[in-house]
């Protein structure tokens, strides 16, 4: 196993899949000559050439729509949307086409499509470039929504997404690309739709994913110094949602905090806590607590922006409330 960054892990996954399967190709803004705006596809253009590494116009509907069309012919496009904020421009193709075609035509159409995109705030990019709208995409039956929190999961889940016969939104986090971790070399695949315990504990269950996994782990370390052992369940996939490890953990701890970077209203925390009440009501010792972004468009100013995004102290405070 090598210790590499999230960026390298993602790059490795795409590279290896392109080497393995000639039907896999990438398309998107600046994925080619530029090497990817987050440098994930650096070197791809020179190695794989313009047929398989396709720079597109800045036209998200065309990117996602054409990716869908090519997937229908049996190709395996990995279409990159520079940020998830731009996915709204392609919303019709994600929601009305990608999520529906298989069902609407009675199973005739199969689209092995991956939309790779980047979300999250914290980089002073202002309200339109800092959103975490993952829950919106997880709302639609027909889509699979994956959002890894470790380099190993990023590699394994992206490989699974590329091999999937279903359309997958693969949501990366802009501030995690430099995160380092042990990543298995070669053919390492993590199945989509499996939540996992990232840190064992006995006192409280923290349910989270993506960037907030890192923040939750920090909070758990601090809590540990006070003798509070938090168990952290990483969802990894938002749809299909695997509640089993969450419920199993909750039955042990009887207390839960759900941590997400996006807004709380109609969000991931709302969904998880509702399911905990539905599936483990008899085990509830305290109301499930949500930690999420303040209900404001994210401001540019660094101090204000940081105030709005959940941090380890917010998580610690929430844990103490439920204990």
């Amino acid at each position: 196993m090598a210790r590499i960054t999230m960026r390298e892990a993602i790059s490795q996954a795409v590279w290896e899949e392109m080497e393995r399967d000639p039907d896999v190709f990438i398309m998107g803004q600046e994925v080619g000559v530029w090497g990817g705006t987050y440098a994930v596809t650096k070197g791809f253009y020179d190695h794989f050439g313009p047929r398989r590494v396709r720079d597109t116009p800045i036209a998200e509907s065309a990117i996602v729509g054409a990716a869908i069309g090519s997937a229908l012919t049996g190709l395996r496009p990995v279409a990159e949307l520079m940020t998830i904020n731009f996915a709204f421009v392609a919303m019709d193709h994600i929601v009305n086409e990608a999520a529906k075609l298989h069902y609407m035509f009675g199973g005739q159409m199969v689209l092995p499509l991956v939309i790779r995109t980047v979300g999250g705030g914290g980089r002073q990019l202002g309200a339109t470039h800092s959103q975490t709208p993952d829950a919106i995409f997880a709302h639609f039956p027909g889509l699979k929504v994956v959002s890894p929190g470790t380099p190993a999961d990023a590699k394994g889940l992206l490989k699974a997404a590329i091999r999937s016969q279903d359309p997958v939104m693969f949501i990366e986090h802009a501030t995690l690309y430099q995160m380092r971790g042990e990543v298995p070399e070669g053919d390492y695949v993590v199945p989509i739709g499996k939540s996992v315990v990232q840190r064992p504990g006995r006192d409280v269950t923290i349910v989270t994913y993506s960037k907030m996994l890192e923040v939750s782990l920090k909070a758990a370390d601090k809590l540990s110094q006070e003798g509070i052992e938090a168990e952290i369940v990483d969802l990894r996939t938002l749809r299909p949602l695997d509640m089993e490890p969450v419920i199993e953990s909750f039955k042990k701890t009887n207390r839960a905090v759900v941590v997400e970077e996006g807004w709380p209203s109609y969000g991931v925390g709302a969904e998880i806590s509702s399911r905990i009440y539905e599936q483990a009501f008899d085990y509830v010792d305290a109301p499930v607590k949500r930690v999420a972004q303040m209900e404001v468009p994210l401001p540019y100013n660094r101090t204000l922006e940081q105030m709005a995004i959940p941090n380890a102290d917010d998580i610690i405070a929430a844990v103490k409330e439920v204990l």
Partner: protein, 319 residues
């Protein structure tokens, strides 16, 4: 063309016409739900285009899709059963009027968001270009679709990537109830293709043979690497936009004038005048077509409803 082919095209147009007339009645009697957009008056467009394609050529269209469905060879039974939402429908009763497809016949739907299938068409063509397959993607849409962003993104991408697509605008003069002049900055739709440096031409959509002839030539050029091309096909829908259309936006006289140019009538006259078929032979084709449609109604009405478990199938390939 052989005589049998001429007669087959006549048969296809009459099947579409009669099938839709039956569908209108079934809609009025409540047996067909949702929206029903009839193709009546435009039959020569899809019939001529599909007659010119090869099996490897792909076709994708908008929600006014019954004509293409029949032309590509989906049986009248499967079309009618889909309209009635039955398990035997081409989309298992899950798609309805606007969502018919048969991928085994290279027909990729039936898409109901105006213009949204144009980027998909670029992608279908990309699939062929990627594998160096000589095939054309025929993408049909209405004049109304040329005002939405998808249209422009798709045309631009197809030209930038030199994709083998034929963009076919079925100009029936109205986007729902709004005339071209009230909705589009240019009234001659084909000029929009000029903006993308794309070869384009206008075709008389009431003349099946004119459509077929032009399509044969254009498909051939595109198949051999000309890059995308644009066809504006002038046509007219004799019925409203959908069954719920009060048609306050046009004069009955205008509708009548166009109806005198009925594409089936024009083709009929052509077949007689050129001595390709006799009146008796054409009457027989009409009778056969009517029998096909009548049988399709019986088939659809007697077909089973989808099983309740069908509600949960086909959401994902891999659960």
């Amino acid at each position: 063309m052989e005589k049998t082919e001429y007669l087959d095209l006549y048969h296809q147009m009459v099947v579409i016409r009669r099938l839709e007339e039956s569908a209108a009645e079934l809609y009025q009697s409540g047996k067909i739900g949702g929206f029903l957009h009839l193709y009546v008056g435009q039959e020569a467009v899809s019939t001529g285009l599909i007659a010119a394609r090869r099996p490897e050529d792909r076709v994708i269209t908008a929600y006014r899709d019954h004509g293409v469905a029949i032309n590509v060879g989906i049986s009248a039974n499967q079309v009618m059963a889909e309209l009635l939402g039955k398990a035997t429908g081409i989309s298992k009763g899950k798609g309805g009027s606007m969502h018919m497809a048969d991928v085994t016949k290279n027909f990729w739907g039936g898409h109901a968001i105006v213009g949204a299938h144009l980027p998909l068409a670029a992608g279908l063509a990309l699939g062929d270009a990627y594998r160096d397959q000589k095939a054309v993607t025929i993408c049909m849409f209405g004049d109304g679709a040329t005002n939405i962003g998808f249209f422009h993104e798709a045309l631009n991408l197809s030209k930038v990537w030199n994709l083998p697509v034929v963009w076919v605008c079925e100009n029936n003069r109205y986007g729902m109830g709004t005339t071209i002049e009230r909705a589009s900055a240019v009234s001659e739709i084909r000029h929009k293709a000029d903006g993308y440096g794309m070869k384009n031409q206008v075709v008389d959509g009431m003349d099946l043979l004119a459509v077929r002839e032009t399509a044969l030539q254009v498909f051939d050029e595109v198949r051999n690497g000309s890059g995308p091309q644009f066809l504006e096909i002038e046509t007219y829908r004799f019925r409203g936009h959908s069954m719920g259309d009060p048609e306050r936006y046009r004069q009955q006289e205008e509708v009548k004038n166009w109806q005198e140019n009925d594409p089936i009538g024009i083709y009929h006259q052509h077949l007689i005048k050129d001595g390709i078929a006799t009146e008796e032979e054409l009457q027989q084709v009409v009778k056969d077509a009517e029998a096909v449609v009548k049988a399709s109604v019986a088939f659809a009405e007697s077909s089973p409803e989808p099983a309740p478990e069908e509600l949960f199938t086909d959401i994902y390939v891999e659960e």
